[in-house]
Symmetry: C2
Subunit: 340 residues, 2 copies
Amino acid sequence: MSSNIKDVARHAAVSISTVSRVMNMPDKVAKETRDKVLNAIRELNYMPNALARGLIFKRTKSLGVLIPDISNMFYSEMLHGMEAAAHDQNYNLILCNTDNNKTRMMESLSVLKEKQIDGLIFTSEPIYPDYHELFLKLQIPIVLAATHSLEYDLPSVKVNDEQASYDATEYLIKNGHRQIGMICGSITDQVTAMPRLQGFLRALKVHQMEADMEKLVEFGSYKFEDGYHAMHKLLEKYPDITAVFAAGDERALGAISYLHEKGKSVPEDISVIGFDNLRLSQMSIPKLTTVGQPLYEIGYLAVEKLDHLIQKEHVPELRTYVDHQIVERQSVKMRNHESV
Amino acid sequence: MSSNIKDVARHAAVSISTVSRVMNMPDKVAKETRDKVLNAIRELNYMPNALARGLIFKRTKSLGVLIPDISNMFYSEMLHGMEAAAHDQNYNLILCNTDNNKTRMMESLSVLKEKQIDGLIFTSEPIYPDYHELFLKLQIPIVLAATHSLEYDLPSVKVNDEQASYDATEYLIKNGHRQIGMICGSITDQVTAMPRLQGFLRALKVHQMEADMEKLVEFGSYKFEDGYHAMHKLLEKYPDITAVFAAGDERALGAISYLHEKGKSVPEDISVIGFDNLRLSQMSIPKLTTVGQPLYEIGYLAVEKLDHLIQKEHVPELRTYVDHQIVERQSVKMRNHESV
DNA sequence: CTGAAAGCGCTTACAG
DNA sequence: CTGAAAGCGCTTACAG
């Protein structure tokens, strides 16, 4: 059905070497011959088989992307950036959803290796020892996006979560808040939740405030419902709270939703600051003040870095930390200091 | 660096044919030989090269996916379903963001073809004649997801937009609303916006209500801001409106946001119903009543259908229409009939 | 049950 | 400037 290089050669009455040459080094072919071949290519709708080329070049111009949950806006925005960079560098992305399932992640990685991807983007999740072992075994260039590893020397691109968290908390403090709670990810998450918790606590200490984790912090997963329930518990154990730092926009919206149901107005009664600056943080009522991390850019940079690693076999900067910023919207209220 | 079939053969002291056989038809190999080979494979960390196999089998177990905007929740949710089905059927997904750009879409399709994908999922967007021409030329099995084509015989999976829209509108009517406006996609969009508009108008007529498009409908893109502005204009030309059907959840949130700013309460003053049932429709205040389409399922079914098409070279049902449903939440208020 | 050979669709030294 | 040959890493008739 699809024509191959032999068909073209026959049609143009030349050898397949010549056809190959007009595709790869056209100036080494006489103009007349070249035109003959070009015509044959056009008439037969010939397209070279990338598998055959990949076999020879040992390069497929395909990158693997491992993502826990594509339908999560956090990842889809990063993925968007990755795709843009991939397109700019002439790569394609092979996408695997891992569902946060170790087995599935390791299986996916194996088939990606068999498919001869040039490199891999690995997102979130910590790098477990068996992951690292597999990485070594597979010998694939890897860049981590929105995660990093302190144990292993793996290139990565992410935000400084501890500092971002510190800044979010300090922002609340500078707005006059003295009773601040936090809704945090699972404490077992060393990559994201832990540093955010530390940044929160550090800001409290620096400003000479009570930093009692038991009282001030609720833990839970990143979803809306988790934020909702965490807010419930937080309010129970700390009723005179004036602000909460929800380390994740979806959690923040869940918290706002709970407060709304309880007749507490945001930000009049209680202020809320989120984390991520997902698109949905602009769509809520009130619009969510949040610490923004450049997800698209993280994805874009990760692929650029991977490309560099593939081409030069090293990377200019192992761990890249991109800037975050406080995105001021409407969910945090400035309190009078007297009222403290 | 990575070992190949020759290395394994050497290591196990057999021919490469035998190695190949233990991978493809193990029972045709003597147990003793098989174990020798299996051991060699393990010791060398051998993984077969899928390019070489693909070249022979003329099958890559890779599918192309063309998506206008991955960071749009609408697509990322469908993509999630596609990935799940792909995983279940042992495919990988090669993802291309087209940015709604015809050139980019056609270029992407060409490289996917060169990479020998077994099939393609094409989402949204109408099928222009040049698209169809390219499809024919490329000879790739194709399934349309969340779009369809009436002009061409292409397999598709989507919701019945006209009926869904009719149902949404009738739902408002049954809740006592008589002054209903609509926020609709661009009228040039024959695939989605047009049928939704028709469903809206049909419901009004069936219920003997005024169906004046000029007065009742505002057009715009799908984003939050577009919904916001459309609501503004709609309210200006139709101030005594009691309900609006926003054909898209993001639009609906934009509309709610505008109403909120103008001091109109939803649903007390004005009711809003959306379309899609994206995850964010559960996160707003008030939670959005909407007509749900099963995005994950559409993605899943599209890939299943594509697999069927690839294997049997036909499809049991050309155009599949999946069920929609009204998801009742808090943004629509029941009005007394006296007040009409 | 096992191996040598041809072939999948290309590219690239090597001759000429 | 052009072609024949070898080779990328596999699979599968074909012999034996």
